[in-house]
C-alpha cells in the first residue's frame, strides 16, 4: 500500500504522498496517479525508457508525471513497475526510469477518472526527518 492522503481542493484532486527515498517518492506519486485513473494492473509485457530533465526536483516530478500521463493517453502505455535512478546536481536534475508496463486502451476499456495533468499549483517536494513528502494537485 502506498502511503498517501487526499488534500481538499474545490475543483480538482490533490494528494500528499510519502516515501523513504526520493526515488521511492517518484514511484509512489506515479502509482497514486495511475491508482486514481484505474484499478487494473495488467501483467507487464513491454518496457519503456523515460528520461526527463529539469532545473529542480519539483519541476522534475511534474514533468515526469505528465510524461507518463501523455504516454498513457496518447500511446496507451500503462506503467506498472518502475526502476528509477535520480541524479541531482545543483541546478540540474534528471530521472532515468525503465518502466515495465502493458498496452491498455483507455478509449476501449473503462477507467475511473480522466486526469488532464499534474499542475505546479501549491506543489511541494520536501525532505524531512522521517522521509520525503510530495503534494501535487491534478487537474481533473
Amino acid at each position: 500500500m502506498i502511503d498517501f492522503e487526499f488534500i481538499e481542493h474545490t475543483a480538482d484532486v490533490g494528494v500528499r504522498v510519502y516515501a523513504d527515498t526520493s526515488e521511492q517518492l517518484f514511484k509512489n506519486c506515479a502509482e497514486v496517479l495511475f491508482g486514481l485513473i484505474l484499478d487494473d494492473r495488467p501483467k507487464p509485457d513491454i518496457e519503456e525508457t523515460v528520461v526527463v530533465e529539469a532545473e529542480d526536483i519539483e519541476e522534475l516530478l511534474i514533468t515526469w508525471l505528465n510524461e507518463l500521463l501523455s504516454l498513457f493517453f496518447a500511446y496507451r502505455f500503462l506503467p506498472v513497475d518502475y526502476d528509477i535512478i535520480l541524479e541531482e546536481r545543483e541546478d540540474y536534475k534528471v530521472i532515468k526510469s525503465r518502466i515495465k508496463g502493458a498496452n491498455f486502451d483507455p478509449y476501449q476499456n473503462k477507467i475511473k477518472m480522466e486526469i488532464k495533468a499534474a499542475t505546479y499549483h501549491d506543489l511541494k517536494v520536501e525532505k524531512n526527518d522521517s522521509g520525503w513528502i510530495a503534494e501535487v494537485i491534478f487537474d481533473v
Binding site: 481542493h9 474545490t10 475543483a11 505528465n66
Partner: protein, 482 residues
C-alpha cells in the same frame, strides 16, 4: 483563515495591490453578500492577487461571482495584458481544457411533446453520443486531415456533413479562430486528440435537455425564437486530450521563459511569456488550433444530438426546429480592442472560466443579434437551472467584455463523495422530474447540486452589476453526464 476583501460597491470587492508586494494592479471580485462567505474561505482570492503579478496587466485582476479555487488562475478569472507594455500570455490563464465552452440549441418542441418520452430521449442520447471517461468518437481523421480540422474548426465539421453553414454564424469566432498553427502542436497532442473528436468527455461536461421556465426579456427571447414551455438542449464540452496536451507542452515551455524574460510570478502555474516573444507566438498558434478542435467537437456533438432527437420523434432535425442559438468559449485567450486611458489598444484577454459578454452593436456579433447583444450561456448544476443572458456595453467597459461561466463549485469532489448518497440523489432528481445517465456513479455524486453555489445568486450579481442581462431561465429535464 478568512480573506479580507474591501467592499467598494454593492457587488464589487477589492484586493488592494498593497496586499502583496509584486501585485501590479488591484484585484476586483464581483460578488454579493450570499456568495461572499464561501469566496472568503476559498483560496481563490489569493489566486486573484497572484494573477495581478502578470507583466503588462491592465486595470485589474478580475474575478466573476462563480469564482473558485483553480490552479494558477482562479476559475472565474479574467485578466487583460497589453502587448505594447510587455504584456504576457499565460497558458495557465486559459487552462488545460482550451475552449471548454457551451452551446445552446433550440427546438420547436414544447413540454407536452416530451410527455412519456423523457426516458427514451435520455437513453438514446446516452447510447448515441460518446460520453464518459476516455470514450472514443466517430470522427476518424488522418494526420493531414487533422491539420485541416485544426485550421478550419467548425467549418471543417460542417464541410464533412456535421451540420449546416447557418450553424457557423452562431458561434463565437464563427466556429473557427484565425491564426491556428498546427505546426506548433506536438505529435503527442495529435495522438491524444485523434480518438476524441466528437466525444463529450467526463467531469463537469454534459448534455442537458431543458425547458424554458421563465422569460425576463421578451424582445431578446423573440429574437432567439424562445418562449415559455419550449424545449432546448445545452452541450458543455471542450478540446479533450488534444487541449490538455497543448497546455501541458506550453506550461513547460513558458516555465523556462520566466528566467529568460526575468518574470516573477508567485505560482509556477502562472508561467508566461511576453506576447511578442517566439514562445508566446507558438503557444497562441497551438492554443487556437486546440480552440478550433473544441468547436469541431461541439459541432459534432450537436450533430449527434440532432440525430438522436430525429430518432425519437421520427422527424428530421430541421422539422424539429433544432437551430443553434449560440456557442461560447469560457477557457480562452483572445486579442480584443478596448479603450484604455482614451487610447484604443489591442489587449490579450484571458478568460479562465469566464464568458465573453459583448454588448449590442459589437461588430463581432451575427447580424440577427446585433441589436440585443451577444448570447451568454450559463449552465447551472444538474438539479436546478441554467440561464441565457446577453452581454452589455458595461461589461465591455468594466470587465473586458466578460461575465460568469456557471454556478461555480462550492464543495470539493471528495467532500461531495463523502456527503452525497447516490441513491438518494437519483431519487431526489427523479422527484423533480429529472432523469440522469452517466457511465460512473462517482461523476454524478461529484456533480451533485449541493457541490455547487446557487446559480440564482451568481446571476443576480452579474445582472445587478450590469455585466449581463437576463433573457430566460431553463429547468433541466434530463442530463447525460460524462
Amino acid at each position: 483563515m478568512e480573506f479580507h476583501l474591501e467592499k467598494i460597491s454593492e457587488y464589487k470587492y477589492r484586493i488592494p495591490k498593497s496586499y502583496k508586494p509584486g501585485m501590479r494592479v488591484d484585484g476586483i471580485i464581483y460578488a454579493g453578500n450570499k456568495l461572499l462567505e464561501s469566496i472568503k474561505k476559498d483560496k481563490a482570492p489569493e489566486q486573484v492577487a497572484n494573477v495581478a503579478f502578470l507583466p503588462g496587466i491592465v486595470n485589474y485582476s478580475l474575478a466573476m461571482p462563480d469564482i473558485h479555487w483553480g490552479y494558477g488562475f482562479p476559475i472565474g478569472g479574467v485578466a487583460a495584458t497589453d502587448p505594447e507594455q510587455g504584456g504576457v500570455i499565460s497558458p495557465g490563464g486559459v487552462g488545460y481544457d482550451i475552449n471548454c465552452g457551451v452551446r445552446l440549441v433550440k427546438t420547436d418542441l414544447v413540454l407536452e411533446d416530451l410527455k412519456g418520452k423523457i426516458e427514451k430521449i435520455v437513453n438514446v442520447l446516452y447510447n448515441d453520443v460518446p460520453s464518459g471517461i476516455g470514450s472514443k468518437g466517430q470522427v476518424k481523421v488522418s494526420y493531414q486531415e487533422e491539420k485541416k480540422l485544426l485550421l478550419n474548426g467548425a467549418k471543417w465539421a460542417v464541410a464533412q456533413g456535421f451540420g449546416v453553414k447557418e450553424d457557423l454564424e452562431y458561434c463565437e469566432e464563427f466556429g473557427a479562430i484565425d491564426g491556428a498553427d498546427p505546426d506548433s502542436v506536438s505529435e503527442r497532442a495529435f495522438e491524444r486528440g485523434k480518438p476524441q473528436a466528437g466525444t463529450l468527455g467526463s467531469g463537469n461536461h454534459f448534455l442537458e435537455v431543458q425547458v424554458i421556465e421563465d422569460i425576463f426579456d421578451q424582445t431578446a427571447a423573440e429574437v432567439f425564437g424562445l418562449r415559455i414551455g419550449q424545449i432546448a438542449v445545452m452541450i458543455h464540452s471542450g478540446s479533450r486530450g488534444f487541449g490538455y496536451q497543448v497546455c501541458d507542452d506550453y506550461v513547460k515551455v513558458m516555465g523556462k521563459c520566466l528566467s529568460k524574460y526575468a518574470i516573477k510570478v508567485p505560482d509556477r502555474q502562472l508561467a508566461c511569456a511576453p506576447v511578442t516573444s517566439p514562445e508566446a507566438k507558438a503557444y497562441i498558434g497551438a492554443m487556437r488550433a486546440a480552440a478550433n478542435y473544441a468547436w469541431v467537437n461541439r459541432q459534432v456533438l450537436m450533430y449527434l444530438v440532432r440525430e438522436s432527437f430525429g430518432k425519437v420523434f421520427s422527424k428530421s432535425w430541421q422539422s424539429l426546429g433544432m437551430d443553434l442559438i449560440y456557442d461560447v468559449a469560457h477557457n480562452i485567450a483572445k486579442f480584443e480592442k478596448y479603450i484604455i486611458d482614451g487610447k484604443e489598444k489591442v489587449l490579450c484577454v484571458h478568460r479562465k472560466g469566464a464568458t465573453r459578454a459583448f454588448g449590442p452593436g459589437n461588430p463581432e456579433l451575427p447580424d440577427r443579434y446585433r441589436n440585443i447583444g451577444q448570447p451568454v450561456i450559463i449552465p447551472g448544476d444538474m438539479g436546478t437551472a441554467s440561464y441565457l443572458l446577453v452581454g452589455t456595453k458595461k461589461a465591455e467597459q468594466e470587465t473586458f467584455g466578460s461575465t460568469c461561466h456557471g454556478a461555480g463549485r462550492l464543495k470539493s469532489r471528495s467532500e461531495a463523495i463523502r456527503t452525497v448518497d447516490y441513491e438518494g440523489l437519483i431519487k431526489e432528481l427523479r422527484q423533480k422530474g429529472i432523469e440522469v445517465r452517466s457511465s460512473g456513479k462517482n461523476t454524478i455524486v461529484e456533480e451533485a447540486p449541493s457541490a455547487y453555489k446557487n446559480i440564482d445568486d451568481v446571476i443576480e450579481v452579474v445582472t445587478q452589476a450590469g455585466l449581463s442581462k437576463k433573457v430566460c431561465k431553463m429547468r433541466p429535464l434530463c442530463v447525460v453526464k460524462g
